[in-house]
Every structure is written in structure tokens, then in C-alpha cells.
């Protein structure tokens, strides 16, 4: 059965299942969400209004046996940035959606009635129901209640209180294979779902399967592809220490943003590092290795237990730990884990919210290092939606405006994550030029700048940075379309068998004849589609820059500033 577009109109409370337009057929994941948003959403519309659409799409290879192919793309116009947005996450939804024969789920309109709804999707239906039990509840209660309420194997996408309150940092949470949560974290897509009054979406593929045009070729390509992933030396470290292995190396490089981006090294780095986290997890009987979706061979996720040996949080990532840790000067991993759990439950982006706390600390709302204060404000203010809670829940830029702070680390109003752009200049290019606001995953120049993966580019020199960021952003747009986890890029950059195997997988899945050049062209065209949407929404080249303080305040220990001119930055788009 050919894949279909499933459409839900919340204004009329009607649904339809449509054929895939020809021009969308070659797209999946981010390429498809961005193509649909660009085609159907007025760029100047209010992100929380009737004209915005929430688009959910599995990748081109999702639902197959291909290793690491279970990532989901969710797109819309972002209430945080005002740009086009694609937020990418694991969990079971991409695979189950693909098996249900859904190329994309498009949710449009706004309901008239003031009540909450849920959406249920199967291979031959998509239905809207009123929901009275779960509104007001956190994401963990949604997952628990639905596992009792529903029979069979369902994917669940849910919003917590933050999404219900339409906070600009609200995320959409996705159930993982063990009932933990993964997050489409960035850009406030939970607020878009909340504006449409949808508390949760369930997906049941029944006995649906993804059709493979050339099964033998597919199996062989997957064997080569999975081997490249498993053989890359980086895979072992990621499995053992998680992404948090980065704390110590980024700190050593003097690029770990500390105390609201006023220093590049954090005294308490060892206490929050991947090495310490690994020892705590093992000592307390947690799981150092865990997969966010079936078929992942890297397993960078983990289960972190509290001192009593009870599960505290899962999927405890470097950027979340950096933000609450170094940026807010909290050197207590248990407090950071507790905050991570609360943020997962209320459904709010851990990066945006923690960087917002860093700015609030600079404003004097609480002291740097006050982890207990962060937990109190998360529970008493953000969860309940007090004035302070809404200021923080609307993101880093919101806190800066409310308290008159000028050191506000955002691009296009989205918080800059865990790599200081003054001493990792390639990341500065990515933050400034990304079509999505500051986002490390859009073009991860840390590879060649710091890690020696995919070559070496001096992190403090301007030379080669624009080209590096451009190549990575193009490749990332293509990878984000396949449903592949971005971490396949490490192997793709270093192992020459990896990318051809990925192209072979796409060709065997669909019975087509793509080349490597076609994949590059796909990445380029996605970036241009996204940029076109942003320009039509009112963005210009002047928005492709970092906040002033990065150009004027030298970052210790290297005492460097960001020194690309706007003219140099504009050359990024010369392709």
C-alpha cells in the first residue's frame, strides 16, 4: 500500500487520508516537514493562530530494519523563533507511523470549543476525540494512563502543562521503547500542539509493514552501514559515557559556556562529567547504555537512578547537563537530574529553560549555583504558570527582556547551546546562519573544530569555518530527511563505506537510483526552502548574527571574541 498523507482539521473537526502529491514523494523527515510548512503555512502568520500547521513525518528509512533509522521530524512555524522549525527526536513514533503507512500527519486549524482533544491514527483511519481526564497532567501521567487505557503497541506523542499553557519553550514528548520520554525539544512546538488543543496523539500500526522494493539489496546495504557505525571508535565512548562525555573535553578546550556565558571553563566540571555520571549510574544500578529507538546500535541514552536506586531520569544529555550545570554553576548531578525529570514531565525544552535560568541568575532572580532554587521555581512557578513561571517558560529571550539583561545568549530568540562560539568559531557560523535559530545539531562544527572527526579546523581561526558549517548544514538537512540519527554523521565523516551504504539503503527501499550528489542537492534544496520561508516571514541577512556581547566581551581562558563580519557571514549562502 502506498504511503498517504493523513490530515486533521481542528477548526472543522474533520479528517482525511490523501494521496501524496508528486512533488512531496521524494521527501521524508525534515525535508518533508519543511516542504509542507513552506507550501501550506503563511510565513507571516501567528505561530499560535489558526493558520499555522503542525506537521509530523517519519524519515525515508524509518520503520525498516535499517540501523538507527527511528528518528521523527516535527515541523511548524516556531512560536519561539518565528522561523520555520524542524525538531527531531527518537522514541517509537517514527517507526510506528511509517509502518502505519503515514508519510506525514498534518494538523491544521484551531478548534472553536474550549476543550481538549486527542488524535488516534491507524493505517486506515485518523480520528479526533474529546479528552477530559488528562488535561492539566504531566507527560509521565499521560504515558502511564494510556498504557492502561489502550491495548496493543502504540506510539504516543504528548504535551505537558507547558504546552497546554502555550509557553514558547514547550516541547512535544515521544514515548520510547521502555515508556521513557524523548523530546522534540527545540522551538516551542509543544505550544503549537497546545494551541490546537491536542493533549496527545496515539499511533497504532496494527500489522502494517514498510514495503522494501529490493529486500536483498536492502539487507546487504544495512549490513555495511551498521558495520560502519559499530566499527567507528567513537561509538564505544558514546555507549559507555553518553553524550555527556563532552563536558570534560569542551571544558578543557575552554569552550564550555559558564555562568551565563562569562567564562569558558567551569570549576565543577568533573562533578557533572560523563565519567562521573557513568560511575554514579553503575554504582546505583542504573543503565549506562540504553536505546531511544529500536534498532539503534550506538545506545547513547541511559537510565540514571537516584541515591535509593530508583529511576530518576532517562536520556540525560550533555546539552541539558551543561545548561543547568556550567551555565547556571550547579555542580550537583542529582539536582540536575531532578530538574531534567521535572522538565520532561511538564514538557519544556531543557536547553532553552536552563539557559533562561542562567539569564535569570544574572538578573538576580536567584543566585548562581542555586540548584534547589531552580527546582523550586520549576515546580512552583513554571508548572503552575505564575508570572515568573511564564517569563521563564517563554525562553531565554523572554527573561532577558523582562529583567533588562543585555547578555542574552540567543540567535533568532533561541538559546545558544553548549559550545561557546568565540572559541569554537565554526559553531558561531552555524548558530548565526541556521534556518532554525541557534541549534548545535544543525551543523555540528565541533567535529573538526574540537574532536578531530572529519578533519581538523583550528577552532579559534576564521579560516575554513564557513565552508565547514555549510557542508555540515547541507549534510545534516539530508540526514534529517532519512530518519537516521545524526550520530551516523561521525561514521559518515570518517568511514568511506558509510555514506554509499546509506544511499544504497534509500535506493533499495524505493527502487530508485540516487547518487551521492543527489543527496547533497537534496540537503541544499531543503536549506533553501527553509531560508525562503524565513525571508518571506520577514527575516533578513541582519538576523544572521550573534548577540553583541560575543563580539565585544573576550571569553576566558583564551580571551577571544567572535570576529566574523556580517559581510563574511552572508557568504554562507553562496551556493
Amino acid at each position: 500500500m502506498a504511503d498517504k498523507i493523513f490530515r486533521v482539521n481542528m477548526s472543522t473537526l474533520t479528517t482525511s487520508i490523501e494521496d501524496v502529491p508528486k512533488s512531496w514523494a521524494g521527501h521524508g523527515g525534515r525535508g518533508l516537514t519543511s516542504t509542507i510548512v513552506a507550501a501550506e503555512v503563511e510565513p507571516t502568520c501567528h505561530p499560535l493562530g489558526e493558520k499555522n500547521k503542525l506537521v509530523i513525518a517519519p524519515g525515508l528509512l524509518s520503520g525498516t530494519i535499517a540501523a538507527n533509522s527511528g528518528r521523527l521530524s516535527i515541523g511548524a512555524k516556531s512560536p519561539l523563533t518565528g522561523t520555520i522549525k524542524e525538531s527531531n527526536a527518537g522514541g517509537t513514533a517514527a517507526q510506528i507511523l511509517a509502518k502505519a503507512g503515514c508519510k506525514a500527519l498534518i494538523i491544521e486549524g484551531l478548534p472553536e470549543k474550549d476543550c481538549w482533544y486527542s488524535i488516534a491514527l491507524t493505517p486506515d483511519s485518523v480520528t479526533i476525540s474529546e479528552e477530559t481526564e488528562l488535561p492539566g497532567k504531566g507527560n509521565f501521567a499521560v504515558i502511564e494512563t494510556l498504557s492502561d487505557r489502550l491495548e496493543g503497541k502504540h506510539a504516543v506523542l504528548t504535551i505537558g502543562q507547558a504546552g497546554e499553557m502555550k509557553m514558547s519553550s514547550a516541547n512535544i514528548s515521544i514515548k520510547d521503547p521502555d515508556g521513557n520520554l524523548r523530546s522534540s525539544g527545540r522551538g516551542g512546538l509543544g505550544a503549537v500542539m497546545g494551541s490546537k488543543k491536542i493533549k496527545f496523539i496515539t499511533i497504532d500500526a496494527k500489522d502494517g509493514k514498510v514495503a522494501i522494493a529490493e529486500p536483498e539489496k536492502f539487507k546487504e546495504a544495512n549490513r555495511v552501514f551498521a558495520k560502519a557505525l559499530v566499527d567507528h571508535p567513537l561509538t564505544a565512548g558514546l555507549g559507555q559515557f553518553g553524550t555527556n562525555v563532552l563536558v570534560n573535553v569542551i571544558n578543557e578546550a575552554g569552550s564550555l559556556p559558564t555562568k551565563n556565558f562569562t567564562a569558558g571553563q567551569f570549576e565543577g566540571h568533573e562533578a557533572i562529567s560523563g565519567e562521573t555520571m557513568h560511575d554514579i549510574i553503575v554504582e546505583r544500578g542504573g543503565k549506562p547504555r540504553h536505546n531511544c529507538h529500536a534498532g539503534c546500535v550506538i545506545q547513547c541514552s541511559q537510565i540514571y537512578n537516584d541515591a535509593k536506586g530508583e529511576k530518576l531520569t532517562a536520556g540525560f544529555e550533555y546539552e541539558s547537563i551543561w545548561a543547568m550545570g556550567a551555565d547556571c554553576c550547579v555542580d550537583n548531578l542529582d539536582q540536575i537530574a531532578e530538574a531534567d525529570k521535572i522538565m520532561d514531565d511538564i514538557g519544556i525544552d531543557t536547553i532553552e529553560t536552563s539557559v533562561a535560568f542562567g539569564v535569570a541568575m544574572e538578573a538576580g532572580v536567584l543566585e548562581f549555583g542555586d540548584g534547589a532554587g531552580i527546582l523550586r521555581i520549576l515546580e512552583d512557578d513554571v508548572t503552575k504558570g505564575t508570572g515568573l513561571g511564564r517569563i521563564i517558560g517563554n525562553g531565554t529571550g523572554s527573561v532577558g527582556r523582562a529583567y533588562g539583561v543585555t547578555r542574552v545568549p540567543v540567535v533568532k530568540n533561541q538559546a545558544i547551546p553548549a559550545y561557546d562560539p568565540r572559541s569554537i568559531k565554526g559553531m558561531g557560523i552555524t548558530y548565526a546562519t541556521s534556518t532554525q535559530g541557534a541549534d548545535h545539531t544543525m551543523g555540528y562544527a565541533v567535529t573538526a573544530n574540537i574532536l578531530g572527526v572529519g578533519g581538523n579546523v583550528d577552532p579559534m581561526s576564521k579560516e575554513g569555518q564557513i565552508e565547514l558549517s555549510r557542508n555540515l548544514q547541507v549534510a545534516t538537512a539530508a540526514i534529517d530527511s532519512t530518519g537516521m540519527c545524526l550520530f551516523i554523521a561521525f561514521a559518515a565523516l570518517d568511514d568511506e563505506t558509510c555514506l554509499p551504504a546509506l544511499v544504497d539503503l534509500l535506493n533499495a527501499r524505493f527502487g530508485i537510483g540516487l547518487t551521492g550528489d543527489d543527496v547533497v542537492a537534496l540537503g541544499q534544496s531543503i536549506l533553501k526552502t527553509e531560508r525562503g520561508f524565513n525571508m518571506a516571514a520577514g527575516f533578513t541577512a541582519a538576523d544572521d548574527r550573534l548577540p553583541d556581547f560575543f563580539y565585544t566581551e573576550a571569553l576566558p581562558p583564551h580571551n577571544v571574541v567572535f570576529d566574523f563580519t556580517d559581510e563574511e557571514m552572508a557568504t554562507f549562502w553562496d551556493f
Binding site: L234, G274, Y318, L451, G452
Partner: protein, 74 residues
């Protein structure tokens, strides 16, 4: 000359986190890696005083050498 050596990730197993060592002048990063029994092929990142370096570099008085395996995340 006195040099501080810091190890990270699984290079710490059966070795150490941080140690001060007295070394002869002319000692290279590679010499230290070999003395520590670290397989050169496993090395991802080498830094002296928070700047990237190579196995051939000679250490100087009071240098801080950091040795990482191939790691990544993000």
C-alpha cells in the same frame, strides 16, 4: 621539568585522572602516550594548555597535557 597529565573517558581505567610528573627535557607527547600504554590509534584529542597539539610536540615546564580517546556526542 614538571608536567601535569590529565586522562579522560576510558583512558582513566587502570590509570589515573590527573598526575604530576617530572620529565626529562625533550619529552614528546608521543613518549608519554607510549609510557602510559595507550594505543596511539585510540587517541582522539590531544591538548596542551587547552590548545590542540600532536604526538610530536615537545613538552615545556608546567605544561598541562590532556589526552582523550576518540569521543563525540552533541
Amino acid at each position: 621539568m614538571k608536567v601535569t597529565i590529565k586522562l579522560f573517558a576510558f583512558f582513566r581505567e587502570s590509570r589515573f585522572k590527573i598526575e604530576n610528573r617530572d620529565l626529562e627535557k625533550g619529552t614528546t607527547v608521543g613518549n608519554i602516550v607510549d609510557v602510559l600504554g595507550i594505543d596511539r590509534k585510540e587517541i582522539g584529542v590531544l591538548m596542551i594548555n587547552s590548545r590542540h597539539t600532536t604526538l610530536e610536540t615537545e613538552l615545556s615546564e608546567n605544561d598541562i597535557l590532556a589526552i582523550f580517546p576518540v569521543i563525540g556526542g552533541g
